[in-house]
Amino acid sequence: MSTQVHHAEPGIFQKYFWSTDHKMIAMQYMFTGMAMALIGGFLAYVFRMQLGFPNKSVPGFGIVTPGKYNAVVTMHGSIMIFWVAMPILIAAFGNFLIPLMIGADDMAFPRINRLSYQIFLVSIVVLLASFFVKGGAFGGAWTAYPPLSASGAYNLTPAGATLWLVAVALEFVAFLLGGINFTVTTMNSRAPGMKMFDIPLVVWMIVLASVIFMASVGPLIAGAIMLLFDQTLSTGFYDPSRGGDPLLWEHLFWFFGHPEVYVVLLPAMGIVAEVITVFARKKMFGYKTILYTAWATGVLSFVVWAHHQFVAGIDPRMANIFTVTTLLISVPITEMVFLYIATLYGGSISLTTPMLWALAFVAEFMIGGVTGIFLGASGTDIYLHDTYFVIAHFHYTFVPIAIISVFAGITFWYPKMFGRMLNETLGKIHFWGTVIAFNVIFIPLFMTGVAGDQRRVYSYAQFAEQARPELQHLRTTSTIALLVMLSFQVIFLINFFWSLRNGKRAEANPWRSTTLEWTAPSPPPHGNFAELPTVYRGPYEYGLPGRAEDYWPQNDPS
């Protein structure tokens, strides 16, 4: 049964800017996220040039003054988390994949979907405007602790601070709306026959992430309103001289901030699961266990937040509770990683470009995971807090999440999205250049962090113990590696855009995958399926003995 009422071919505005089609909205999020990644990457280039070659004019930017340095690191962090990782991992992949993978023709609420993107776009306009106002972009770090963030007299970027806050708040609203749409669609719009445990992991993970986001962001929205009023209406919510408390913001922020990292981790792990099963030709090892560990991680993520505040002035006895919960949360995640590794056992592994990215995710994320233990243990965090060890740790989690798994997803689903194949050779060159360079950026930063380099500092000239040549060599090495890594992204961009028109035409299921999106044409038309599918089994039936093919699609009735 088709609902298609045939209308005239839509115009450019209707098709690209006013669409309610989940696939087009996904593309809007994806291309916007990619553009923001270029900006975020440029900002990283600027501050690493200052750190690697102190006080030299940076080509394409100029001299990095202390004030500009603070603004650049603030905006780099904010952009990468809120305007790159979340839009691509959750909004782009979620929008594209969910209706296709559950056998539906669109999201349950396409117009709310369109509204989400529009609010998201407004948040970007507000954020980018902040670069051009008097005082420039906000310079109080993405964590925005008051009183620094509440008072222009302290941060010297008052207009930028308020615009930043409004942009973040709008982004939150956009993702609340989008996440609710994803959740309702997954709950209610599944194809006949698709039971809860037949849902592909990436869909589960995106929905879980949306729920975790929703449950954690509320108090921060309240806190953000309060900070906005402190900035603009002379309230004193966070001002001790008016009876307020800066620690209140810290708690509200991190109560969200910690679950947020799992909000971005889970979709990344979902993408990796889809790629690994296809290119190892293997059923996921312990699908249900993976789900249980994901749920456990989600729940536990709400009781670990104060490990960001061990030395913040909280009651020291509280730290003991949080160090226990923090080390405990490593348990379900470790189990998830073990289960992913176990999935390779007995498989038949092809090292295609998507698979290289997916495997690199596992290998690199493990470094991020184990280095987190040093920070979760309160005793060592006393020393390591606010050093480059923290930066290296979270880049070993965030880069796998926001970059490596995203490349896995893009190279994997590109044929479905665009009806063309990417070039494998360029893909592999891009992969090796990026991953090797990535490690050369951050391993030196573990070392400088242990040596005492503190964060958010534009120059170590004033600190005798930090202004040592051997440490400067490490910083410069890191900067050069970043330049290499950024250069390799050109290869990706060339591959991506050239293949849009010139890549080999893609069939419906070039990877011989079992999940439903591969039964639709490449790319799928409006409405996705000529005939909406019915589901007969779970999502990873690979390698069944006695069958002609090594994969059994979910909608195959035989």
Binding site: V5, M107, A108, P110, T185, M214, A222
Partner: protein, 193 residues
């Protein structure tokens, strides 16, 4: 490509719960976390600052009580509107929704007078701890009342033509939520000593 044709995705209901109602509950859930967060912070601070009771005694309890009555009554109209929608009587549901909205308008008008008086007395949002929370909490709630009214009038316009009647229940649910938030706010802001 029509933007008004509903996708099949919207019509399925694998969980047994109609999709419109399901999304309404999720929206309410997200709002509970927001208001819950703000309220908890306020309560914690109120407990830690006994001296705020003096400031709180200057709130207009009569206006607050009257507004509570107005909101509760308007919720009754919303329930009746739902009943009418269930009976497929769109025009009646629309009329009742518009009466509900009127309740919201009365609420906001009374609040307008109340706040004007407070500001004339010198109690503004920057007047100190209690007042900052008071205006923020009641203001955020008021914005939700306003938003609810606007959506309700849009739903009523469709309902009058017997269209999208399932939305009557949904906006009613949202209105009850806004009501319940007020039921928490009223004692915590107006009555508590």
């Amino acid at each position: 490509m029509s933007t008004s044709a509903k996708p099949i995705a919207n019509e399925r209901h694998v969980t047994g719960i109609p999709t419109a109602r399901l999304i309404t509950w999720w929206v309410i859930a997200s709002e509970i976390v927001i208001f819950g967060g703000l309220l908890s912070v306020y309560v914690m601070h109120r407990l830690g600052h006994p001296e705020w009771a003096a400031a709180a005694s200057h709130t207009n309890t009569l206006a607050g009580a009257f507004n509570t009555f107005v909101l509760l009554t308007s919720s009754l109209f919303a329930v009746l509107a739902h009943k009418a929608a269930d009976a497929h009587d769109g025009p009646r549901a629309a009329k009742l929704l518009r009466l509900t909205s009127l309740g919201g308008l009365i609420f906001l008008t009374v609040k307008g007078f109340e706040w004007t008086h407070d500001i004339h007395e010198g109690y503004v949002i920057s007047s100190g701890g209690f007042w900052s929370y008071y205006y923020t909490l009641a203001g955020l709630h008021g914005l939700h009342v306003l938003a609810g009214m606007i959506i309700m009038l849009i739903v009523a316009a469709d309902a009058a033509k017997n269209q999208e009647l399932q939305r009557v229940e949904c906006i009613g649910l949202y209105w009850h939520f806004v009501d319940i938030v007020w039921i928490f706010l009223f004692p915590l802001l107006y009555i508590a000593r």
